[in-house]
């Protein structure tokens, strides 16, 4: 039995770990990866102390910092269920069972899925959630970007330099995102914007070869070899049913990072904290660890 288990090793989880280590708490970190969403950012220019740092570099710095304390860390492990029974938090992962007196949920967010037939089948076979990573593989091909927020507009603008034809598929009647980005997208000859359009099926053989779309009540097939899904993020909070969440599925926390269940704390993008920023997630992680320390002292 640990005093604390931290779920996640993004900015919130890592910072919580550093504070927990320095307070001498006996803890374990369970995480799918190190760095979380921060590792996916190409350029970070608003993390104090760094005028410019790339996501992978910052993730490496985070890892070096936490490893300095010689902590117990389980990577490539996913939490499936979290429950509190008789004052003990029990965790089920894809690899085992754990118990702790307290837990900090810092599991962040993940890409929202379309939930249409063909999506799972063709993931990484022409369908991707990371234009920055996989975009260059679609050189000279026709591609579709699904979404209309900043990340979708950014993906479309990256792809015009690589792909032949870029379709931007927007379920609403107008594009979202920043005005500057919108203007660039609307002015680009290589981008065809399809508003009021819904993707219904991802088509393909071994790899993607098209999408079925629905507009003005009519279904048609668009021939594309690449599909970039950029429809926002959802919190990784599905493994806990008991703690209170808001409509978006974010875990509700108070100013001390306490959730609706005593002994269960949460920090960073998985929570309903107003802004999602690396520096805010890090700060929330430190607050959560200090709250846990206080809790452990009071509940000896």
């Amino acid at each position: 039995m640990f005093d604390l288990i931290i779920i996640g090793a993004g900015p919130a989880g890592i910072t919580a770990g550093i504070y927990a280590a320095r307070r001498g708490i006996d803890f374990l970190v369970i995480t799918k990866d190190i760095g979380g969403q921060a590792a996916w950012s190409s350029e970070i220019e608003n993390y104090t102390g760094y005028q410019f740092i790339s996501g992978p570099e910052l993730a490496k710095k985070f890892e070096e910092h936490i490893r300095k304390y010689n902590i117990a860390l389980k990577e490539n492990e996913e939490v499936i269920e979290l429950k509190k029974i008789d004052g003990t938090v029990s965790l089920k992962t894809d690899k085992g069972l754990y118990e702790a007196r307290t837990v900090i949920i810092a599991s962040g967010k993940k890409s929202r899925e379309l939930n249409v037939p063909g999506e799972k089948e063709f993931k990484n076979k022409g369908l991707t959630y990371c234009a920055t990573c996989d975009g260059p593989l679609f050189s000279g091909k026709d591609v579709a970007v699904i979404g209309a927020g900043n990340s979708a507009l950014d993906a479309a603008l990256q792809l015009i330099n690589i792909a032949k034809q870029v379709y931007l598929i927007n379920i609403a009647s107008d594009l979202g995102g920043d005005a500057i980005m919108r203007k660039k997208v609307e002015e680009s000859k290589a981008i065809t914007i399809l508003n009021n359009t819904q993707v219904t099926v991802i088509l393909g053989d071994k790899m993607v070869n098209g999408i079925k779309i629905k507009r003005e009540g009519k279904e048609e097939v668009l021939s594309v070899q690449g599909v970039f899904v950029e429809i926002g993020l959802i919190p990784n909070s599905g493994f806990t049913k008991e703690v209170e969440k808001n409509q978006r599925g974010e875990i509700k926390v108070n100013c001390r990072n306490e959730t609706s269940i005593s002994g269960i704390f949460a920090a960073g993008d998985v929570t309903d904290v107003p802004e999602k920023q690396i520096i805010i997630a890090a700060g929330e992680g430190s607050k959560a660890a200090l709250s846990v320390f206080r809790y452990l002292v009071q509940h000896k």
Binding site: G35, A39, W40, S41, S42, S54, G55, P56, A59, K60, E75, N76, N124, K125, G126, T128, C130, T132, C133, D134, G135, P136, L137, S139, G140, I162, K206, M207
Partner: protein
């Protein structure tokens, strides 16, 4: 004799950067194949891995998709 390691990647992909950094930190010599703008290399990668996501590591025929640290360690004995 050190194993022959190939890394298929793009310069913009965060996990490619981390995978290559991990190999460097462990003094593993590898061939860095940038599949962006190199259609032949991209097709080779798709053929051997059956998918289009980067990074892909080829450790003497053993194909590892993504930055899977445990599998890389296991295959290289580090």
């Amino acid at each position: 004799m050190a194993k022959q390691v190939k890394v298929y990647s793009t310069s913009t992909c965060p996990f490619c950067i981390r995978a290559k950094q991990f190999l460097k930190d462990n003094n593993i010599i590898f061939e860095d194949i940038d599949v962006a703008g190199n259609q032949a290399a991209a097709e080779e990668m798709i053929k051997i891995s059956g998918q289009m996501g980067v990074p892909v590591l080829d450790i003497e025929g053993e194909i590892i998709i993504g930055f899977d640290k445990e599998k890389i360690k296991e295959n290289l004995g580090i």
